[in-house]
């Protein structure tokens, strides 16, 4: 067989999409894009698979174990690879998971501890009600969340293993972090010592740095999103708001806050005379309700985000400052009776940031907070990124490279892989075991379905590990 020579063998076909329907053109574009993606992934996976194999072969070459043992190890790798291939053609649904317990609640759904029925592995399943999300224009929100979770291999980010959907819900199957979240910890302990605070803040610095390196801005770092793994080290969850661009729902939401402020103009809160203890008590009473509400709490959001004039990665360092304040003082720096009031305080942060007299903070701690709760241009981290923050005197003595290897201040005492004692499950008893069918079944929802096509992600390492942990 030989190739025809171009001169006498060339054909000519004038291309035109005239007469083809828009649906056809769209389908063709989608098919082309998907195939390109397919080959890209197929190649990447072939390379990774090869690497795993040669790595093992090389290790075995230098090891002294018996040939039989080596053979068994190679076979075991083969089984893992085969298992992974099987997972990739598995279509998962709700029926493949059994709920053990409801462990958390967020704006658009709940988080449940679930067990995959065939393997017995434990996961956290986050349910998102599509209807509510579309209503609130949260599509980009979910997409961003999924992308960050899926793309990262970072030890600082909660891993996403599978996702699937039915007409009502989107389901995210994530690794289960049995240690609960920092919000629950703060509710339990009121405040942390500076040493404990240093540990959590240092880990947060590394976690935020990792997200920034992925090219994302989190924008919504708060204690509810700082989760603790089985060893008591942190991971960030919930990339709800992390996206590179503004979304329309934001402006509407902040606009509403602004209107609220105007309505309540002049209503200065009267808790100036309260001691820190009283404030902690009031704050804690409302804290969980706020976490469960659709609006969420603006307590940790940097002022420039409200101003709609653009912001950069440094907004996450503000949030860190607010969380650090809360760890040491017991409530966040701008906490108030309602979100409008908090919003107003954040906008006036220069006058509103004050350290209560009955709480003692070291000079370094107060200085770091003041450098984080600062205008964007003067904020620590603005110029030198995470390194600028790492070299602040408050962090003196922190071994940054090995921090995940040291013992955490609070290590969860777990009795089993399904232990949920670190979650406020008694608050969640009314939440049904399985997501109830929703009543809004209109066309609008189904039309949007396409946006979720390809909403599947499966990760090799964890899935083929023998036990969940």
């Amino acid at each position: 067989f030989h190739r025809p020579t171009p001169s006498d063998q060339e054909a000519w076909f004038p291309r035109s999409t005239e007469g083809l329907s828009q649906a056809t053109i769209d389908r063709a574009t989608a098919a082309k894009m998907k195939l390109e993606h397919y080959y890209k992934v197929a190649l990447e996976q072939a390379i990774e698979r090869n690497q795993r194999r040669t790595n093992l072969e090389n290790t075995l070459m230098t090891s002294h174990s018996s040939d039989e043992r080596k053979h068994r190890q190679l076979m075991s790798l083969g089984r893992k690879e085969s298992q992974y291939l099987r997972l990739r053609r598995t279509r998962l649904g709700l029926e493949d998971f059994a709920t053990v317990k409801v462990i958390g609640k967020g704006a658009f759904g709940e988080v449940r501890l679930v067990q995959k029925t065939d393997t017995g592995k434990i996961y956290a399943m986050k349910t998102l009600r599509k209807f509510d999300m579309f209503k609130k224009d949260q599509l980009a929100h979910v997409k961003a969340e999924r992308d960050v979770l899926a793309e990262s291999d970072s030890p600082w980010v909660v891993q996403l293993f599978y996702s699937f959907q039915d007409p009502q819900y989107l389901y995210l199957i994530m690794e289960f972090l049995p240690g609960g979240d920092l919000m629950t910890m703060l509710i339990k302990y009121d405040t942390f010592t500076e040493d404990v605070t240093r540990f959590y803040m240092a880990e947060c610095v590394l976690a935020i740095e990792a997200i920034h390196k992925l090219g994302f801005i989190h924008r919504d770092i708060k204690p509810d999103n700082i989760l603790l793994d089985a060893t008591g080290h942190i991971k960030l969850s919930d990339f709800g708001l992390s996206t590179g661009f503004h979304k329309t729902h934001d402006s509407a939401y902040y606009q509403r806050l602004l209107e609220g402020v105007q309505n309540s103009a002049g209503t200065e809160s009267i808790n100036l005379t309260f001691s820190s203890k009283d404030r902690i008590a009031t704050w804690k009473k409302n804290r969980r309700a706020l976490a469960y509400s659709t609006v969420g709490t603006p307590d940790y959001i940097a002022p420039e985000i409200f101003m709609q004039q653009g912001y950069g990665q440094e907004c996450d360092w503000w949030s860190l400052g607010a969380i650090m304040f809360e760890c040491l003082v017991g409530y966040p720096p701008f906490c108030a009776e309602n979100p409008h009031e908090t919003y107003r305080k954040i906008m006036n942060w220069r006058d509103q940031l004050c350290f209560p007299e009955d709480v003692h903070l070291s000079r370094e701690a107060e200085d770091l907070i003041r450098r984080l709760i600062a205008s964007p241009e003067h904020r620590l981290g603005r110029n030198g990124g995470a390194n600028e923050i790492k070299s602040h005197p408050f962090f003196h003595g922190v071994v940054w490279e090995d921090i995940r290897k040291i013992d955490a201040p609070y290590v969860p005492q777990l009795r089993s892989i399904t232990d949920t004692s670190y979650f406020p499950t008694e608050d969640l008893e009314q939440v049904p075991q399985t997501p109830p069918p929703s009543y809004h079944h209109d066309m609008g929802v189904d039309n949007k379905d396409l946006a979720f096509v390809g909403y599947t992600y499966k990760r090799f390492d964890y899935l083929t590990r023998k036990n969940a942990f």
Partner: protein, 204 residues
């Protein structure tokens, strides 16, 4: 300007269209059985993917493949494929009817835990490779039909590089695991030639 071809050759065999491919380098990289990996699992995974992508590309032309335009499932001049059901009964279907019947059947196979197990611990049946061969026989017919009867749509949509790549990949995989029939009719050989051309191009 009117399209013109080369005498005695279908358009898809003509330059420059036959030379277009999305993928450079040898398909072998992603086709051969990876060392230590279970053969059935590899076949199952790839069959699943080929089915998804081939039906996706069929979706591009499906509006233009009607009982009217394609009253028989043809694979080029003089080649007609009959549907053979589970009882070996042959039926003549129009191309869209053939495709629907076929896609439903393959989908059923892929979803059948006793044929394509996905649950942990379930084994593949002994005759698994026969099922895969049957699926491949049907899928290549779909590709051949598109080449012979709907290639103008592929060109109008500038999808030939993609379609060629998918086709060459499919044939390369089919050959590697002996999933395609050895004996082909002359008209079908054209297609084989196209595949070879693409493969030659890919590994050049």
């Amino acid at each position: 300007t009117k399209p013109f071809g080369v005498p005695g050759k279908p358009l898809f065999l003509c330059s420059p269209y036959v030379d277009q491919t999305l993928v450079k380098g040898s398909f072998k990289t992603i086709v051969v059985l990876p060392k230590y990996v279970d053969r059935d699992e590899w076949l199952a995974f790839n069959t699943f993917e080929f089915f998804n992508y081939i039906t996706m590309f069929h979706g591009i032309i499906s509006d233009y493949c009607t009982p009217h335009t394609c009253p028989v499932m043809s694979g080029g001049p003089g080649v007609e494929y009959a549907w053979i059901d589970a009882n070996q009964k042959k039926t003549r279907y129009s191309a869209p009817h053939y495709f629907d019947t076929m896609a439903t059947w393959i989908h059923g196979q892929l979803a059948d835990e006793s044929r394509f197990p996905t649950k942990s611990g379930l084994e593949f049946p002994k005759d698994f490779v026969y099922t895969v061969r049957t699926i491949f026989r049907h899928l290549i017919r779909v590709l051949i039909h598109i080449y012979h009867s709907h290639y103008d749509k592929i060109l109008n949509l500038t999808a030939e590089a993609h379609f060629n790549a998918l086709f060459a990949h499919f044939v390369c995989f089919g050959k590697e695991f002996e999933l395609l029939e050895q004996r082909l009719r002359q008209e079908e050989l054209d297609i084989q030639i196209a595949a070879q051309a693409l493969e030659g191009l890919a590994s050049a």
